[in-house]
């Protein structure tokens, strides 16, 4: 067989194989690009989100939440022993009990337009839900990224909750 050049068949096979590799490479590059652009919520922020929720909910349990007031971007939690802790929501950080939590994800911000709801339930129970959205530019809104807090408590004489909040 002559080795002076490539036949059309060899050329076609090479082009086909190269195309398959290029396609695979594009897929890998797209996936890597997603990580780079932080389209998926960065794992650092997932850990931080869990830490924020755990710290606040632990206080709800330990100190027993008994009231809540909202003033612009500041939420004041009032506990059974009349102690208070403040949560401040800024676009780039959350500050709870003097501890600051900054988002690491590129183009991610906390929304100061959070949702708060108080609901009376039967047997003197009440339910509060507080949802602070995390907005990531160019990413579809996903509830799993939000800082969602909840508390189910038993009503007492001095229970003092703001009933609703609209931003």
């Amino acid at each position: 067989m002559s080795k002076k050049g490539v036949t059309i068949l060899e050329l076609l096979i090479s082009i086909t194989l190269t195309s398959i590799i290029v396609l695979l490479l594009i897929e890998v590059i797209i996936s890597l690009n997603k990580v780079n652009n932080n389209e998926n919520y960065a794992s650092d922020d997932e850990i931080k989100r869990t830490e924020i929720i755990k710290n606040i909910e632990s206080d709800f349990f330990k100190l027993k939440l008994n009231g809540l007031t909202i003033n612009d971007n500041k939420i004041l939690f009032i506990f059974e022993d009349n102690s208070t802790k403040e949560l401040t929501i800024n676009t780039n950080s959350l500050i709870y009990d003097n501890e600051k939590y900054v988002l690491e994800t590129k183009n991610a911000t906390y929304s100061t337009c959070f949702k708060y709801n108080y609901q009376d339930l039967d047997n003197n129970y009440y339910l509060i839900t507080l949802d602070i959205p995390v907005i990531i530019k160019n990413k579809k809104d996903f509830k799993g990224d939000d800082i969602s807090l909840t508390y189910l408590g038993l009503k007492k004489e001095n229970t003092n909750y703001q009933l609703n909040y609209t931003c």
Binding site: K3, V28, E46, T50, K140, D141, D145, I147, L152
Partner: protein, 154 residues
């Protein structure tokens, strides 16, 4: 005399590179799937919601919930709580299940693939009789959280 690459050499190199890329792609896909599961399986806020649901429904006071079943789907109709539906709506709950805590065999074909995957991922390190599993639905995404209950005196 060889003046360039033979077809066989080209094919061997291309195959080697393809296999490497496929392995790399597989690794990344796994990483993405695992990171997604961190969000939809036992998400911190879902665990707290599940705990409050258990408290509200006073599940610890219920005896022999499963009878002879391994896993059952329950609803507000099973409880005498007038605001149960309100709680479910507020928490965006789509399904509530009770299973044996140490669940090994059940009919997987009856449940969603994600649900089966979740049950496969849970650990049975604590000593409970039952497991309350809650399926949450937000923007067409299902997430799962569970909590053990019922003392195991054995």
């Amino acid at each position: 005399m060889k003046k360039g690459f033979a077809l066989l050499e080209t094919i061997i190199v291309i195959t080697f590179v393809s296999v490497s890329l496929l392995l790399l792609y597989g690794t990344f896909t796994n990483m993405f799937n695992n990171s997604e599961k961190n969000i939809i399986f036992d998400n911190a806020s879902d665990i707290y919601k599940t705990y409050f649901l258990k408290e509200y429904l006073a599940m610890d006071n219920l005896n022999d919930l499963l009878k002879n079943e391994n896993i059952i789907n329950i609803s507000c109709a099973n409880f005498e709580k007038s605001d149960c539906e309100t709680l479910i709506k507020n928490y965006h709950i789509s399904n509530i299940y009770i299973s044996k805590y140490d669940l090994k065999n059940y009919d997987k074909s009856k449940y969603k693939a994600n649900f089966n995957e979740y049950l496969n991922s849970v650990t049975n390190k604590d000593n409970y009789l039952y497991r309350l599993i809650v399926e949450y639905k937000n923007n067409n995404t299902f997430s799962y959280a569970s909590i053990g209950f019922g003392d195991n005196h054995e």
